[in-house]
Amino acid sequence: MTSRDTVLDRGYGREHAGRLWRGYGPLASLIVLLALPGARPLAMASGAIDIAVTVGFADTFRPGHWTPLSVTLTNRGADLAGALEVQVSGDGVLRGRPRVSTHRRRLELDRAARKRLQFVVQPQGLSRPLVIRVRSGGEELARTEVDLRSRFSAQRLLLVLGRDADLDYLNDGAVDGLRVLYPHPELLPAHWRGYDAVAAIVLQGLSLDRLSEKQFDALHKWLAQGGTLAVSGGVDYALLRSARLAALLPGVPQGITRLDAGALKDALGASLEVTSPVPVNRLGAFRGQVRLRAGEIPLIVEHRVGRGRVLYLTFDVASPPFDRWQGMRALFLQTLQLPPAAMASLGATEPGPVPPLMELIRDAAPTYPTSATAFLFLVLYLGLLLAACALAARAPRQNWLAAAGGWAAPALFASAAWLLFGPGAFPRGASAAAVAVIEPLPHSGYARLTLELGMYSSRSRALRLEYLGVEPVFAPHRQAQRDGKIADWVFGDGPRPYAEALDQRRYVLHALEGEDVIAFRLDASIVDEAKGPRLDLNNASGRGLEAVWLVFAGYAYEVGPVAAGARVERRLIAATHGVATGSASWRDVLRTSSGASPHLPAAALSMVQRRLQETSGSESLAPGDALLVARTSNPMRLAGASAHWSQQESTAVALRIAVVAGDSAANEADSARADMSRPGGPESDATPHATVDRAATGSH
């Protein structure tokens, strides 16, 4: 601008400029006109779409763990149809290039509209920012980068969903400590894995009705697979009677009762400064165990939901005298009983045996026709050609023999080659392989689904696997991470989610590990009797179970198939029904045993074994534990363009059961009946079914 102004200020400059305009003006105008349609994306990119991002809870996340990410978009331009992408770069600098996972979601945003979309992502490191893009028609319309270095916490997170609770006294900067956060309930994750870094949630003065259906479902699933929810009571106890909370709490408050200071001091300690009666919630019948009581009044009641716990504190933690009490921190920590901090969920450092996925592919995938088949085919073909040549040479006038050898034989054998070595024996195109283990979470109606998913193709192409039935979070397979074969992925959300490998090479196994919590109810109890175990199995999972086996006390018992909705009671006698496992692994026995039922798939058994190792530190069962293993169908179904892919799958159900001794079972049952007759006594947790609760795995 400055230089042009300088030129125009001079007389000869004006004349020169006029000549220029006459010469090139029309052309410049034409160029400007032609460029106008293309200028729209630029205008949009320069500020037509605002992107606001919240990482984790209250803009704080824990590296290496899955975390929610909320993106709020405001459209100040024209109507928009495109996609929102969140690009997460993992650590991989030492291997030359970090892997990039892109989470993509369809986006339709009208003019002057605002929309919030939530993702669950797993930031691996801090050095690379998250990149959020809005794209349409192959163009980037808006982009922002989120610096993670100022938003992380090394400690586990404790979320407080409260009206006026201040639990900052629980903050602890130690590695194993806690970081207290106060997120807005509306920003809670819509997928259970978003709570990966959360140690516990404290709810005070709020109901869960503000959560969306998906958010509540996510919270419930997180609880079922090992989360801890502490609910504070108070004078506004009507909140706790809402349907959602009532479904989780040990019991519904019936009203308020006033607890005198002396009884409270007796229960909590003399350090509690209290002089007047304190209001606490009055419970009717409840399920669960009383962890703390003042006289006959329960102060803290615990109820198990799957592998998780719901703690009901019948007093208001945010009201006097508890809000000022020095002992509240110790009481909370004692009540929450948080396990030691776990490492990132999908470790990739330790070497391991052959991954179950590869085992499945080796066992079940179609393999190449043998060399002998190829040899035989070649000999036949060349032999036929030679024979045709020889015959034609002997009978030179029989031209059809040479023609048959020269044209018909190749045509015939070409067709045969295609059929024999092609689609029939070795299908071309894309294939998918999935190994899954379903671990029922007792008394929750849920099960944890762990799966290994692989896709490959004999052609060079981008592979996009569309699926239905589950909503797992995916991470690159640990074997791929260990081998440094890390590919870039795109994960799409929506009515038909997909995982797309961006590496287009053929004969490359693109492998993922996924986790989900699915609706699945399977209850079992085992009583150890003199001659063998007595099994009571209730299959309310909606899926048939095939090849059910029970492993207990050095024996494997074949139970057979159990149909969906069936209840089975079996007295199994070790001498008659049992197959002694001896010193061999139960896995080998189950895989090779020649029972009436079909065998259990080896790949799924390997995965069960690995899950046992991961959760209990040993592949073998502890004394007093039994393992129920069965074969079922994979809840993840290929859909859309992937539905016609060649497919191999192997899915097992694994339920670890704490066995009750015959006599003690009777005693406990009697005891339970006695407790149930008492108002406020424990309910289901003391029944023999409750002993089933030690399922195959822990929370992580």
Binding site: Y368, F375, A392, A403, W418, R428
Partner: protein
């Protein structure tokens, strides 16, 4: 439209039995041996672990390329002819056909012959193709490259025969030297002229469309190069045959060719 008599002769020759078929049967056996040697011995699991598919198709297409080229070179040098087929000199110097038609027929006949050789190899190619992966399009490009390369070698052989054909041993030596020099030395020095490189790139792990120094995609460059060089070779053959005809006509006192044929 009249069918070129040279093409008709090739079509008839292909449907008769002779030395050419037996010769190619030997080459087909070589292809079969290569196919068998490169046939995957392990299952799919190890292949996926190594992230490297079988090279069977690449090895076979390379073999088909070199065997077809060798066969075409020998055919061009008239080391053998199809049953009932006449040599190029016979057509040029003993018939009144126009030289342009003869050369066109010669080229078309060679292409038909090469297509027949590919048909004979097709069961082997399909066997390899089913297990090796790769695209139909890439396979088609390789087939086209093989045909054009064979044409080039056929014309090179014909040129050699026209120039030194009367000395059989020298001709025998030179056609093999041409094969080695063009296939190995030139291919190594100028990779985009190499059928081996072409096949590797077209059927390799990642179908890569490299470009030459001039920015043309390599597969187009290969095809254009061999088509161009074949055209030049065809022109040279045309010129040589015309000179030969003139020389013969001059020696016969200006009588037209073909008049001597009874």
């Amino acid at each position: 439209m009249r069918i070129n008599p040279l093409v008709t002769e090739v079509l008839r020759g292909l449907n008769r039995q002779g030395k050419a078929q037996l010769d190619y049967l030997v080459l087909l056996t070589i292809q079969a041996v290569v196919l068998f040697l490169w046939w995957p011995k392990s299952g799919l699991g190890p292949v996926l672990e190594s992230e490297h598919g079988p090279d069977t198709l690449i090895a076979l297409v390379m073999t088909v390329g070199v065997t077809t080229a060798y066969h075409a070179l020998r055919a061009g040098a008239e080391e053998y002819l199809l049953p009932g087929q006449h040599g190029l000199r016979d057509w040029a110097f003993a018939t009144p056909l126009r030289l342009g038609r003869i050369v066109r027929g010669y080229v078309l006949g060679q292409l038909v012959h090469s297509v027949h050789l590919l048909v004979l190899s097709s069961p082997l190619l399909l066997m390899a193709f089913t297990i090796s992966g790769g695209e139909w399009q890439a396979l088609a490009w390789c087939a086209a490259a093989t045909l054009l390369q064979a044409l080039f070698y056929r014309l090179s052989g014909a040129l050699t025969y026209l120039v030194i054909g009367r000395h059989r041993s020298e001709c025998h030596f030179i056609v093999r030297t041409i094969l080695v020099v063009v296939y190995a030395v030139v291919g190594w020095l100028v990779p985009f002229t190499s059928h081996v490189v072409f096949t590797t790139r077209a059927l390799g792990e990642v179908a890569s469309a490299g470009t030459t120094f001039s920015g043309i995609p390599e597969h187009w460059a290969f095809v254009a190069l061999y088509a161009g060089v074949s055209m030049i070779a065809g022109l040279v053959i045309y010129v040589l045959l015309r000179r030969g005809r003139r020389a013969i006509a001059a020696s016969r006192g200006g009588r037209r060719l073909g008049e001597a044929i009874t």
